[in-house]
Each structure stands twice: as C-alpha cells, then as structure tokens.
C-alpha cells in the first residue's frame, strides 16, 4: 500500500525544517500541520506540543501532534552547531515517534525528490521501511481548516465513534483528515516567529512555526461580534420562551375534544412548530436536544424564521395600508354567496337528467332537496358571521408578523371553515353509498347461499329461509336500481372534496417549504461554496521520481441538491404522506372516507 503524506502548500520551507503533525488512524498516512525551523530546543518543543495537544480528542483515535520527521532542502543542508551536537539521525531518537519521515526537497522546487519512512522496531532502532510509492498531497491549509466536511452522512463525533467502534468499518481517510485538522486548532495560535536568529537565541524560548496563520490569527469582525452577542440574546430568548411556554404545555389541552380540534387546525400546529423551533434554538447548551444542534443548524433555523417574519411583514405592509383588507372583508360574503349559488345550480342539474344519465327521479329529487336545505342553513349561518369577519381578519393578519407560514396555515383553516358544507355533503353521500354497497354485497352473498362470519372473518355457507330469500331478492333489486343515482351524487361530492383537499395540499406544501428550507446553508453554499466540502479531487502535478507521486488536493463543494437534502429542517407536525393512487381509488370505490393526507396526527373523521 502506498504511504500518503499531506503537506500544506503554504509551508514549503526555504530551509531545512522539522515537520510537525500527526498520524491518521491505523493507516500509513501522515498529516503535516506545520514546519518548525532550526534551531530549537527539543524539550521546549516537547512542552509546546504537550500544551497544544487537543483536549477533546476522541478515545478511538489519537490526533496528538508530534514530530513527524524532517524536510531537507538540498544544497542547503545545515549541519547544526557542534555544541548542541544534534544530528538528523539522533533527532528521531530524541522525539521517539513510531515513524520518522525524511523528505528531500530541492531548493526552489515545490515537489520533493524523495521521501523515506523509517519505522521503529521493538529494540528502538529505526529501520527504513519505505513502501514502493509515496503519495505527496499538497493541500490548501487555509481552506482545509475553515471547511466543514460533509461527504459522509454526519460529521460529529458521536456517530464517528460508533463507526470506529465497529472495527470492520473505519471512517474514511478524508474524515480523519478533517477531524485531525479541526482537533489541532491550538497549534495554529501562537504568534509567528522572528526571522532574526540572534534575537531568538537571546530570548531562547519560542518555537518558530510556519503554517497558514503565519501572519497572525485571522477572523472576521462580524463573526466575533456575533459570538459575543450570542449569550445575552440567548438569555433574552429563554426568558421570552419561559413566558410563552405555559400556553403550549398547559394541561387544559389534554381535555377531550381539544386535542382533536388542535390536530385539525393548521394554525395551531404551525404555532406549535414555531414554539418547538424557538425552544430548540434558545435552550441552554447543556440540554442535549436531539438532533445534536450544531451552530450552522441553529443559524439555519434562525434565518428561516427571520425570512418567514420578513415575508410576513412585507405582506402586511402591502395589504394593510392599501385597503386590501377591507376589500377582502367585503368580498368574502359575496364569494360565499357565489359558491353557494354554484352549488345550488349543481344540485339542480343533478336532480334533472345530468349528462343524459337515467337517474331515479324520486331519489334524486329527495337527495337534491335535502342538500339544498343544508345550503340554505349554511347561508344563514354565514350571514350571521359577516359582521365579525372584519375584526377577525384584521387581528389575524397581524399574526403574519410571526411568519407568512402562519398566514398560510390560517388560510388553510379559513378554507376548511368556508367549505364545511362541501365536507358535510361528502360525508352524507359517502355514508349512503357505503350503506348501499355493503347491502348489495351482503345480498349477493345471500343468493349464493353464503354469509359473512363476523367471528371468524370469513365467508361461510348458510341455509336461508324461503321468506329471507324472497325479501333478499326484492331488496337486491331495489338497491341495484338505486345505485346509479347514489353513486353519481357520491362521485360529484367526492370530486368537490378532493378539489378542496388539493388546494389545501398546495398551501400545506408551501408551508412545508418555508418551514424546512435551510436558508443559511443555501446562501453559504451559493456565496462561498468551498465552506461546505462534498469531496476532494486529486490532480497529479509531477512525478519527479519513481517513488514519489505529487498530487494537489482540491476541495469540492457540496452540490446544491445535496445541501438541501442534508440540511432540510425537520418538522414534527406537518407530515406529508402522499397517498398511494391505487389505494385512493379503492377507498373511493368502497365508500370509505378519504382522509386529508397533508395532516399528521390523527386527522379528521
């Protein structure tokens, strides 16, 4: 197997230097974090390395930085002072690592000419154990440190621990690479060294490192201010939540019909969802709220809520001043009247000979009149409500400050309330149809001399009396002739109900989109894509000798689709279960009630 050495492209030394870094897992891979120039005191180096060792390293993998080896820049081989009598070969004995690298580099060249790996055997001697090829990967340290590795399904410690606990499944090398870099942040903190050798010798204390933060620690003012502001904001948020929480976890909501009503109202579900979100965001860090909340996810949630509120405010600012609300209030009764009028026309059409179909006129008339009476009732109910509509809409619209999704869920509820009559008609027609279908199937079994055994859930044979057979025949004939009429009414109302459900599904999907869109991650991906790493690409540079392959490692950003899939914000309340088409048709044909499938929870009867 080839050995791999990951070398930061910013640290190519002009003079010979010692390589600091760590070994990646059990493989033959070395990660160079920084280079240290001569001269130095071994003890000082050891204490420095101990001080920058990562504190929260996972037990399954050792990412402690150590002295990996030495990089000789040829034509500039410096033999150290005789006083210190440090030679390259004794260095390895001093630092006593498991392996020792010796890299040869021509002055001015970017690719090393040779790389030897020495392994320590049981006696403590270092023997040359170079594999046939060494892959020398140049990586951009600035990018590699600031990036988030997202190629596997999860990149936090807990799941990687599970992965390596199972010895057959090791985390991939790239995962180890990025984890090692993030563990060893400390090594990049100390101040850069002076080039002046005498000054250093006089101070005699510091180690001179070269890495990506040579020029001093970098950071962004915004990020630092944000981090500083986090704590007070969190406190304020937690206090606000404590105020609002009793509203949601009150015992009152468990009393009998209220949970059922709560499940039906999309507004209530959306409020619940937003409360959950806020709880997740503002809860103190010690509380482990699953899934484990990382800062970017937090940012996603906050950004999505802010976007929601922003859209809501925009909408309010557009609607309220321009008098659209009054127009809506006036239009509402007119609209309901129009809908009722259309329904009446539909019923009159059904009572005649719709589409030339031969319906039983008596039954059709009866059903039609029954439904017309209901429309009349409903119109009177609406006319009672008209004066209250204005204020309700005005105050309800203000809720849009909490988010446009809340407005949309209110719209869903208003639609449900406005189409109560369609729902009622559908239920009546479905029940009647189902009664007829059940009756027909039962009587059909009667003719064949069979009966449904309720106890054993199977069809049994049965001896019927003569009068039962007579009556059965008569009833069967009647039900059969009346079936087309009932079926037509049922079909029409089912279609209306499906149309209403369809509209509500559209609104619900929009809410789901608004709730779930990971705005922050998406923007991050679109603006500075390299921050989210989806993979690495190796490009071959040169092959200076047969034993060394020089490659350059480029970090590939995660694709937009993968970002969406990965960071989509989950929601427990708005569950989408798309219905199976065959099942839907079977449910309709058998007369069972179609449940609105955009609702989670128990749904409506």
């Amino acid at each position: 197997m080839a050995a791999k050495v990951y070398f930061p492209s910013c640290c190519l030394p002009a003079q010979s230097a010692v390589l600091l870094g760590c070994k990646l897992g059990r493989r033959d891979s070395f990660l160079v974090l920084a280079t240290m120039s001569f001269p130095f005191t071994p003890n000082r180096v050891k204490s420095f390395l101990a001080s920058v060792a990562p504190r929260d390293t996972p037990p399954w993998c050792d990412f402690r930085p150590e002295v990996l080896g030495i990089c000789n820049v040829s034509a500039d081989w410096r033999v150290l002072d005789d006083e210190s009598s440090l030679t390259a070969h004794s260095l390895c004995k001093i630092f006593n690592g498991e392996a020792w690298l010796e890299v040869e580099l021509h002055a001015g060249s970017t690719s090393p000419s040779s790389c030897n790996i020495y392994r320590r055997d049981t006696n403590g001697h270092y023997n040359l154990r170079s594999p046939r090829t060494v892959v020398f990967a140049h990586y951009n340290q600035r990018e590699a440190v600031t990036v988030r590795w997202l190629a596997e399904d999860s990149s936090d410690f807990t799941s990687m621990e599970e992965q390596t606990a199972d010895v057959t499944k090791e985390p991939s090398e790239m995962a180890l690479f990025f984890t090692a870099l993030s563990c060893n942040e400390q090594i990049f903190l100390p101040p850069p060294c002076e080039d002046d050798l005498e000054e250093k010798q006089s101070t005699g204390s510091s180690v001179c490192l070269r890495h990506w933060q040579d020029a001093g620690p970098e950071g962004s003012i915004v990020v630092e201010l944000g981090k500083a502001a986090c704590r007070p904001i969190r406190r304020v948020g937690a206090w606000f939540l404590a105020l609002v929480a009793p509203l949601f976890i009150c015992r009152l909501w468990t009393i009998a019909p209220l949970p059922w009503i709560g499940d039906c109202l999309s507004t209530w579900l959306q409020l619940h969802h937003q409360h959950d979100r806020l709880r997740v965001v503002f809860s103190p860090p010690v509380v482990k709220v699953p899934p484990r909340l990382t800062p970017p996810r937090c940012a996603d949630m906050i950004c999505s809520m802010l976007l929601d509120s922003l859209l809501g405010l925009l909408l309010i600012s557009h609607i309220y001043p321009h008098g659209h609300l009054e127009a809506a209030t006036d239009a509402l009764p007119v609209f309901t009247q129009a809908v009722a009028g259309h329904l009446q026309e539909l019923l009159q059409w059904l009572m005649g000979a719709p589409a030339g179909l031969k319906l039983n006129s008596t039954l059709a008339c009866t059903l039609g009149r029954f439904f017309l009476y209901h429309i009349h009732l409903w119109l009177s109910y609406v006319s009672m409500l008209v004066p209250y509509v204005g204020p309700v809409l005005w105050y309800g619209g203000l809720l849009a400050t909490l988010g446009v999704s809340l407005l949309l869920s209110m719209l869903i509820d208003i639609t449900s309330l406005l189409t109560v009559h369609v729902y009622c008609f559908y239920v009546y027609a479905a029940r009647l149809y189902r009664l007829q279908v059940c009756g027909l199937s039962s009587l059909w079994r009667l003719f064949r001399g069979k009966k449904w055994n309720v106890l054993r859930h199977r069809v049994d044979s049965c001896q019927y009396d003569v009068d039962q057979l007579f009556l059965g025949t008569l009833l069967f004939t009647i039900l059969l002739f009346l079936l087309p009429t009932t079926a037509l009414f049922y079909l029409v109302f089912t279609l209306l109900r499906l149309m209403v459900i369809g509209g509500q599904v559209v609104l619900s999907r929009t809410i789901w989109l608004i709730n779930g869109l990971p705005v922050f991650s998406l923007v991050q991906r679109l603006l500075c894509g390299y921050n989210l790493a989806g993979g690495v690409e190796f490009e071959v540079l040169t092959q200076t000798s047969k034993s060394i392959l020089n490659v350059s490692m480029q970090i590939q950003p995660l694709s937009v689709w993968a970002v969406l899939r990965r960071f989509w914000l989950p929601s427990r309340v708005m569950v989408h279960r798309s219905p199976n088409p065959t099942q839907l048709v079977a449910t309709i044909l058998s007369g069972e009630l179609v449940q609105p499938w955009y609702r989670g929870g128990s749904g409506w009867g």
Partner: protein, 396 residues
C-alpha cells in the same frame, strides 16, 4: 455415454410438490451417474437468473411471468430465444420435459424438435376426455408430443391414458414409476417436538406399546376437489359419529379447507380433528410418524407419492381405487376402497381394528419393503436407458 440433459418444467424449487421433487431427485441421480444436467424453469418472484444447487446442479430461472396456476403463458414463442440460448450454451443433447400442465415444457418439446434434439416427456397426471378443458389440453398434448421422441409415464394406467390422449404408439412410452427418498421417510419417533402430533388420550387405556391411546388417521394432501375433499368430509362425519377412538390429523391447504372447518364446527370435532394448514416438506415426515393410518381420498391419481411416503414411514394405507393407485403397493400394505363414503369408512375401520388387535404389519418391515420397491437411483438408470435408446435412434 454421458448426455447433456436439460430438464424443463414450470414447477420447480422453491415450489414444493410431487413434480418438483421428482425433477430434483432425478437430476441429482443423473448427475451422480456422470451426466450433465441443467434445469430450466420460470422465475419465482425475485429469484431470476442462474442459481446453483447441490452437486453443481445449475438451475436457469428464466424471466417469464407465470400466468395461471404457476404456469407461464402458452404462447410458444416468447420463450424461444431464452431456450435456444440455454440449449446452445449447455450443449444440450436431450431435452426432458415434465408435466402436461406446464406450458414451458410444451414449448421446450416443440423447440427441441425444431433444433433436432432428442426429447422426452414425462407425464405425471391423468386426464379425462369428456370436459372442455381436457379436450383442449389433449389437443395441445397431441401437438407437443408429435415432436417428442419418447415419453415416460409414472404408471401403467398413465401409459394407457397418454397413449390414447396423444395418439402415440405405446412402444414409445416407458413406464418408470416415481420413487421415494427412504432415508428421509423412516419410521420412528418424530425428530421435532415429540408431543406436537400425538393425541394423548389418558382416559382410554389401550395397549402400552403404542405412543398414544386411540388410533390416529393422517391425511396429507392439497385441499381441492380433485383430491376428494368432499368425500373426506363425509367420511369424517360418519367415522367421528360411529367410532370414538379415532382421531384425525389433516395437513395441507387449499380452497376446500372451508368445507372441513365447517364440518368441524358443525359436529363439534375440535378435539378430534386437527387442521395443520400448509406443511413444509420437512414437516411432512414428523406428521406422518405421529399417525397410524394414512387415508387418501383422491378422485384421480396417476401415482400418488403420498401413499408411498406414508408406507415408507410404516403406516397402514387406505385409499380409493382410482387411477394408478392399485399398482403402487401390494395388497397387504394397501387397502383399496370404492370412492364412496361407506366403503372408505369400512376400510378405515378394518385397518383400525387390525391395529388394535395387534395384527398390523410391523413398521420397520414395511419400511424395508418400500425401500426395496422404489429407489431414485433405479429410476435414474431406467431414464438413462430411455435417453440412450432415444439418442441412438436419433443418430440412426
């Protein structure tokens, strides 16, 4: 001279049944004799492609969809490309098709004739001549067997039937019976749970050398009309009323199961009649050794492997006198009855009385006799002789 034999049938593992086990056992014995054998059948669900069974027996599960009753569509040409591929790939010299219900077998016979390969057809069932389905199937058989060079039937009655149906000269039909794997069907205690099929009747003291008091009658068959389930219902009703020491164990599943369940409920026979449902092939032996008498009420049967399996386990056999059943076992091991309720009841009662009087034949002796009668290796050698005759005739 080793042949390269291709067994074709719609019915093979993972289906369980008479034809399936016949094809499998015959293939294994022929492989033992040094021939190359492959099996071609249709895909069962996800199981498509080439699989390997014991001794490297290659099975081709062709991606054809079964239409009705586990058989593929009888369109003749939709399997041509695949069969041709198999024949060429395996350098097949003999095509051996099984079961007249299998349309893949008919296709293979037809195509084998056009490829000039020797073909043998094994017929496992008897057909009538009077009803519409029989008339059509017989016409189909005449067409397929026109190209077949030889045929094998599992009983003499079967040969007469095939000769009439297919208008084939009887000299080209050989009678080679099925066999039974005597090492699997041995008398003795059940290898599974010893109490699972035994009815303990402590309140009926009987002779102590039997496992349980009372006489257990075992019936294992598919519960369809052809297997005489209606007759069985009548027999059960009468026997349960007249003899209180008889218990019944019924294994198998089918559309007529409801008849037996209703009978059980009507006459309150829940403690005396046990319905086991579909049995795995491995469980059959355990159910058989738990009984004393095996009852077969089929209305038509070419060979009836179940009888031989039961006799191999040492049970007394009572059966209807239909089809090829009288040829299967000698009269001292097999009680034949007319297909009426009264006669069958009399037969069962006679067998039970024989058992209670201690005059029933010894189980081990019965098993040894059956083992001598039927052996798969013998079947394989006789089949090989047919193939040899076939290919020598082909060469000529």
């Amino acid at each position: 001279m080793p042949h390269s034999i291709c067994m074709v049938s719609d019915f093979f593992h993972p289906n369980a049944g008479g034809v399936e086990s016949h094809v499998y056992q015959l293939s294994q014995c022929l492989v033992e004799r040094g021939h190359r054998v492959v099996v071609v059948t249709h895909a069962y669900g996800d199981r498509a492609g080439i699989r390997y069974l014991t001794n490297g027996l290659r099975v081709y599960y062709l991606p054809l969809r079964p239409m009705y009753n586990q058989a593929t569509a009888p369109t003749l040409f939709h399997s041509l490309a695949l069969l041709r591929c198999v024949f060429i790939r395996e350098h097949v010299t003999v095509v051996h098709a099984h079961s007249a219900f299998s349309s893949l077998a008919h296709d293979a016979l037809f195509h084998a004739a056009s490829f000039g390969l020797a073909s043998i057809f094994t017929d496992h069932s008897l057909f009538g001549f009077a009803d519409v389905s029989s008339v059509l199937t017989n016409a189909l058989l005449r067409a397929s067997l026109g190209g077949a060079t030889r045929a094998i039937c599992v009983s003499h009655t079967g040969r007469e039937n095939t000769a009439l149906r297919a208008a084939m000269p009887p000299g080209r039909i050989s009678v080679i019976p099925n066999a039974v794997d005597a090492t699997r069907f041995t008398p003795g205690p059940p290898t599974g749970n010893p109490d699972s099929t035994c009815h303990d009747r402590a309140h009926l003291p009987r002779s102590v050398d039997r496992r349980c008091a009372g006489v257990t009658v075992v019936i294992i068959s598919r519960l369809v009309y052809r297997k005489g389930v209606d007759l069985l219902a009548g027999v059960l009703a009468q026997l349960a009323a007249t003899r209180s020491d008889l218990n019944f164990v019924i294994g198998g599943e089918g559309p007529k199961r409801i008849v037996l369940e209703e009978l059980r409920e009507q006459h309150c026979l829940h403690d005396r009649v046990t319905l086991l449902g579909a049995l795995d092939h491995r469980q059959v032996r355990d159910v058989l050794v738990g009984g004393d008498i095996f009852l077969n009420t089929s209305l038509t049967e070419a060979f009836c492997m179940a009888i031989v399996e039961a006799a191999s386990c040492g049970l007394q056999v009572v059966s209807t006198h239909v089809g090829g059943v009288p040829e299967v076992l000698p009269p001292d091991l097999l009680t034949l009855c007319k297909p009426t309720v009264r006669d069958l009841c009399a037969g069962v009662i006679a067998a039970a009385d024989r058992l209670l009087a201690g005059k029933a034949p010894d189980r081990a002796t019965t098993h040894a006799r059956v083992r001598d009668f039927y052996d798969w290796r013998d079947v394989a050698s006789r089949t090989e002789k047919v193939s040899n005759d076939d290919s020598s005739q082909n060469d000529n």
